[in-house]
């Protein structure tokens, strides 16, 4: 294969990574933006999405497309319910103290991961894609499902943007983000906003997990890498900014695709993590801003 088509393939793979990454990172960014909580367990919500998708598609008989649509609805709802419970039982009792919530979500990470190991097992399981459809390009064939993932993620992100900027609920969330004390004096139930935000963030991660599972297999340790990448995206993109998150996800996803096809993936990750650390050290205000 010549260099041009090879690069095209790398970019297309990168676009798929960007799409799921943008979904997961949007959830993380939303939670940090509104609640000032760094959710270390975010990757586990992603993993749960994939694992629940596996469970749902094996339980529902009939055509794979139908089972997959069911998974797309059930998995985010279940994960959102779990996140809402975690918010009520843990985060709320910590008064959303930034440092204590990090420790607590690390604990949550282990609990979710190990509970999944107990009930689901250590195996990686595949899920059949809802449709088999290949696009034949002049140089190589490409999975139509992967393009569908990009399209679906774009659709969800657009819906999220519309929700945040065009609805009353979105307005309330943004008001809470700006100043939760003033929001409370205006009669906004801040506790409920926080719970909803945490559930919504988790649901976005779960949705990314469901979308990715026909491409990657469902495994109880699959949450680690997306968590790290989502962190990188959120920090580089600027917190709470949906547009920044999207742009950063595109940059990170595409460069990840290109770099890991031409260079060692480990080196790419080393550079990315160091870059994030240095961004935080030298440009803290654009990024982790008000805190510190």
């Amino acid at each position: 294969m010549a260099f041009g088509p090879f690069l095209l393939l790398a970019l297309m793979e990168g676009l798929v990574t960007s799409a799921t990454l943008a979904l997961a990172a949007a959830g993380l960014s939303l939670v940090f933006g509104v609640m000032r909580v760094v959710n270390v367990a975010h990757g586990e919500f992603y993993m749960l999405g994939a694992v629940i998708a596996f469970a749902v598609t094996t339980m529902i008989p009939g055509p794979p497309a139908l089972a997959f649509v069911a998974a797309l609805i059930i998995a985010p709802l279940l994960v959102a319910a779990l996140a809402a419970a975690a918010d009520a039982l843990i985060l709320k009792r910590l008064n959303y103290d930034p440092e204590a919530t990090i420790v607590a979500t690390i604990g949550l990470l282990y609990m979710i991961q190990q509970a999944t190991l107990s009930f689901y097992g250590p195996n990686a399981n595949p899920v059949t894609a809802p449709f088999e459809w290949r696009i034949q390009l002049p140089w190589f064939g490409y999975s139509g499902y992967k393009l569908f993932v990009v399209f679906a993620a774009a659709l969800v992100l657009f819906a999220l943007w519309a929700f945040m900027t065009r609805t009353k609920a979105g307005l309330i969330m943004r008001a809470t983000q700006v100043d939760h004390t003033t929001a409370r004096t205006f009669g906004i139930n801040v506790d409920r906003v926080y719970m909803g935000t945490f559930a919504l963030g988790a649901a976005l991660a779960a949705l990314a997990g469901v979308l990715i599972v026909p491409i990657q297999q469902a495994h109880y340790l699959m949450g680690g890498d997306p968590l790290l990448l989502a962190f990188i995206v959120v920090i580089i993109g600027g917190l709470g900014s949906l547009r920044g998150t999207l742009i950063a996800a595109l940059i990170i996803g595409l460069s990840d695709g290109v770099i890991s096809m031409f260079f060692a993936p480990t080196l790419a990750k080393i550079i990315a993590t160091l870059l994030v650390a240095l961004v935080l050290v030298f440009r803290p205000h654009g990024l982790f801003g008000a805190k510190a």
Binding site: V38, I90, R93, L94, P98, E99, A100, I102, V103, A104, I106, G107, L108, L109, Y110, M111, I112, Q113, Q114, A115, L117, S118, L228, F231, I235, A264, T266, L267, K269, I270, T273, L274, V276, A277, L278, L280, V281, F282, P284, F288, K291, A292
Partner: protein
């Protein structure tokens, strides 16, 4: 006086324990003491100076690889290897501190986490030198100290106990010294201590470096006593464990890290007979501690009953 008596009594009890316990339990206790040294170092940064780091695995691994690579490359014996490990931990923590201490709070946690992750990935990337995922075994000739073979039970236990005693008494002396007080001042109120003429950056950098020396020493000792160096010791899990030990035993107490390590080991040992998902306990313990007992066991005891506990 009673403070010193208490700590010397603990050391004496640990010395006696060697003769009372089975070799299996004694080896476990040696491991716990080494990890307690790691946790004591973590406690100097987190418990006393208020620096919540999520990247101490980096310093532990620096000590481990510093000692392991010195042994492998130059074939040195255990004592120089230990010094190499301590130096590696101290140097790396000072370097990380110079950058990371420009941030605070949540940013500091993320920056240290990212540095540790980069360190872990570097170990994997440099597989020809570090052995990558598989790691390497330290040669028997390098596990000798003053004629004793650290691979055998009694010298291993005694070496762990010696390191533990030195670390324990040093940190006790340290936190009761004027410098120790200034560390606590950083934790309690950085602005006010700045007004009193302390330079917070210098104090915190010194505290983090000390913490790195401890972590490096513990990592080097772990490598030399148990003979194996591997990338798994650089993972995030080894940044979380000392935090868990400190939170359980009591942040800002001298004996807390040891107590936390001991209890957590017992808990995990009991649970791993029942299930393979014993790390669930680590998670549950973190959540329960942060919710219901943020001061830990000794922190609560100090608050309620024994006011003089250091």
């Amino acid at each position: 006086m009673k403070v010193w008596t208490l700590h010397v009594a603990l050391i004496a009890a640990l010395l006696a324990a060697q003769f009372l316990l089975s070799p299996y339990l004694a080896t476990h206790l040696a491991r716990i003491m080494v990890l307690a040294v790691f946790a004591m170092g973590y406690n100097l940064a987190f418990g006393y100076s208020g620096l919540l780091s999520l990247g101490h695995a980096l310093f532990f691994a620096a000590g481990m690889y510093g000692a392991g690579l010195a042994a492998q490359t130059w074939g040195v014996t255990a004592a120089p290897a230990l010094i190499a490990g301590i130096a590696a931990g101290g140097l790396l923590s000072a370097a990380v501190g110079l950058l990371a201490l420009r941030t605070a709070g949540v940013s500091f946690m993320i920056v240290t986490l990212m540095f540790a992750q980069a360190g872990y990935l570097t170990i994997l990337y440099l597989a020809p030198i570090t052995g990558g995922d598989e790691g390497f075994v330290i040669a028997a000739t390098s596990r000798q100290i003053a004629g004793f073979d650290l691979a055998t039970d009694t010298p291993r236990y005694m070496a762990a106990l010696t390191l533990f005693s030195v670390a324990l008494l040093t940190s006790l002396a340290l936190v009761r010294s004027p410098f120790g007080r200034s560390m606590v001042a950083m934790r309690e109120n950085e602005e006010r201590s700045r007004m009193l003429g302390y330079n917070p950056f210098t104090v915190k950098l010194a505290a983090l470096t000390l913490s790195g020396l401890y972590a490096g020493g513990a990592g080097a000792a772990y490598a030399l006593l148990f003979g194996y160096v591997g990338a798994s010791f650089a993972t995030i899990q080894y940044s979380i464990l000392p935090m868990l030990y400190v939170l359980l035993g009591g942040a800002g107490t001298i004996l807390g890290p040891f107590l936390g390590a001991l209890l957590m080991f017992a808990l995990i040992e009991a649970a791993s007979n029942l299930t393979s998902a014993y790390l669930f306990l680590v998670g549950a313990a973190l959540v329960i501690l942060v919710l219901f007992a943020p001061k830990g066991i000794l922190g609560t005891i100090r608050e309620r009953w024994v006011k003089w506990l250091p």
